[in-house]
């Protein structure tokens, strides 16, 4: 006989499990319904590859290519900064730092993850942007580069902790085998440990990208928000997420503009879905190999 208390808990857990699935499906259905309405009078091609985002001119133009490229540029920049730094930090924490320092560093990284992105964005505006403006002699420091740097900091905790995990889980006997052959610690890390942890590293990078692509508030504040075709890191850009956040408030319900923002949501959804799928694939490939 189960006690009633346990019975209730069990059902509640089940219910919340089901609820979360239902919510996801509902959100997705809503997103699809609103977003796809745009394509009644707009071609998918013109939407994805149009070079002009003029949602409130007459006639409006809903080309999101500049936004897609803006997102890509900022994301690419963030990853180029965050991955080498994150990898180095993870190697240091997992393999090199003495025990006491390891714990301090790990809590530091968690603390970084706990800073709300709006706060990071704010700090970026008051410190990073003026700094970039001065050293590159720009009209404004609110640029793609500023966004990339801020996002790199945001993605770092994810990247570091997943890579660190996968390095720590590399079997100790690989390392011993390498050291016993006369390899130095660096040779061992570089030739054995990192290759053995490669699937975790790839997954970390994908999840880092996911974090960066989906980030809104910081980029909204710091990238300068100009929906123009980006050609350089030193110019203002506009990302997909920032567009939705900035314009949803003023888009008239049921208008083309309103539907277009939802369509952007679909694009974002597809992007994050693919990224998560890839990350998952890498993680599982890694596990599968270790079990064999």
């Amino acid at each position: 006989m189960k006690r009633p208390f346990e019975y209730i808990i069990e059902k509640l857990v089940l219910l919340s499990g089901i609820a979360s699935i239902v919510f996801v499906v509902l959100i997705f259905a809503f997103l699809l319904k609103e977003g796809l309405s745009l394509f009644a009078n707009e071609s998918v091609f013109a939407f994805l590859f149009g070079r002009n985002w003029y949602p409130i001119s007459d006639p409006p133009q809903f080309g999101i290519l500049p936004l897609i490229l803006g997102s890509l540029l900022v994301t690419f920049g963030a990853i180029v900064i965050a991955v080498p730094l994150g990898l180095a930090a993870a190697i240091y924490v997992a393999e090199i730092a003495p025990l006491w320092l390891r714990d301090i560093l790990k809590s530091g990284i968690e603390l970084l993850a706990a800073i709300p992105s709006i706060v990071l964005g704010f700090i970026g505006i008051v410190t990073l942007a003026p700094f970039l403006k001065t050293i590159f002699n720009l009209p404004s420091g609110l640029t793609a580069l500023a966004g990339s740097i801020m996002l790199a900091f945001m993605a770092m905790p994810t990247i570091v902790s997943i890579i660190e995990d996968s390095i720590v889980s590399v079997p100790k006997n690989y390392k011993e085998g390498s050291l016993a052959l006369g390899a130095t610690r660096w040779q061992t890390i570089y030739r054995v440990t990192l290759p053995a942890a490669s699937s975790g590293i790839l997954a970390a990078i994908m999840l880092g990208i996911g974090r960066v692509v989906g980030e809104t508030m910081a980029v909204l504040m710091i990238t300068g928000n100009a929906a123009v075709m980006p050609v350089s890191f030193l110019q203002p850009v506009r990302t997909l997420t920032a567009t939705i956040a900035a314009e949803m408030g003023e888009a008239v319900g049921g208008s083309g503009h309103y539907y277009a923002l939802f369509a952007i949501g679909i694009v974002l959804f597809v992007i994050s879905f693919i990224i998560n799928l890839l990350a998952d694939m890498f993680l599982h490939r890694g596990r599968g190999r270790k079990r064999r």
Binding site: E176, G177, L179, A180, L181, R191, V192, P195, R289, R292
Partner: protein, 251 residues
């Protein structure tokens, strides 16, 4: 007699725990020396002194003298890279790297700076031939080493050592993950290898020690109780504790 490893008054501490107590032994060149004794008596620890693998463990302190090829290997100034080239180690669980078979064999050469493809190719053929794997694997050198059977993996790990031209092979229960047939074949391989190398093997399997070793040491609670020719240890042990152990009157 040509001693390649000599220890004298060797003590080893894991923190406050003394794992080796006043160990003195001589390992002769081109012989198989076996270390036997119950689990936890310090066999692996002693073996790992010979290539300084205990250095990896925090809080280990080693005192006394250990000479390899006449040179002292304890102390801070020792070149661990060349020591570990000279004194290779085979582990209990086969531990090929998750790389190709080829890359496993040439790993040691690569880390010691060899880049010439011809030299590497030759080393692969020679080392794999020495462990009798070349005929079987020559067409699948680029497959992942983890796809091999455990016995093949262990042979590959031995080949990986041979590629860097060691003088001594340390083997820590190299057959404990293998089935009896594979064990027998690895033993044959060891008898073959001792013509060119010196082998020190740790085993909990007394029959194995009796079958393949020339010299044998019995360890108990960190002490080397008795050391001598295998035949004598097994037929006329001098110490009561050795006798109890080899006759099976022991925990």
């Amino acid at each position: 007699m040509n001693n390649i490893i000599t220890t004298d008054r060797l003590d080893l501490y894991y923190g406050a725990f003394q794992a080796l107590i006043n160990v003195g032994l001589n390992v002769e060149q081109n012989k198989i020396t076996a270390l036997i004794g119950p689990s936890g008596c310090g066999k692996s620890t002693l073996l790992r002194v010979f290539n300084r693998m205990n250095d990896l463990i925090e809080g280990v302190r080693t005192t006394g003298s250990v000479k390899v090829g006449g040179e002292e290997i304890l102390g801070p100034g020792v070149d661990l890279v060349s020591l570990r080239k000279k004194v290779g180690m085979v582990f209990q669980r086969p531990n090929p790297f998750p790389l190709t078979i080829y890359e496993n064999v040439v790993y040691g050469l690569r880390i010691h700076g060899e880049k010439d493809r011809k030299v590497l190719d030759q080393a692969v053929e020679k080392s794999l031939s020495s462990v009798l794997l070349f005929a079987d694997l020559k067409d699948k050198l680029s497959s992942n080493a983890l796809s091999l059977s455990l016995e093949q993996q262990q042979r590959l790990c031995i080949a990986r050592l041979l590629a860097v031209l060691p003088e001594v092979l340390l083997m820590d229960e190299p057959c404990s993950a293998l089935d009896p047939l594979a064990t027998m074949r690895i033993e044959e391989l060891m008898l073959e290898l001792k013509k060119r190398y010196t082998i020190v093997i740790v085993t909990h399997n007394m029959q194995q020690a009796a079958r393949i070793s020339d010299e044998c040491g019995f360890m108990l609670l960190g002490e080397l109780v008795e050391f001598g020719p295998t035949k004598r240890i097994f037929t006329a042990p001098k110490d009561k504790r050795t006798e109890d152990y080899i006759t099976g009157r022991f925990g």
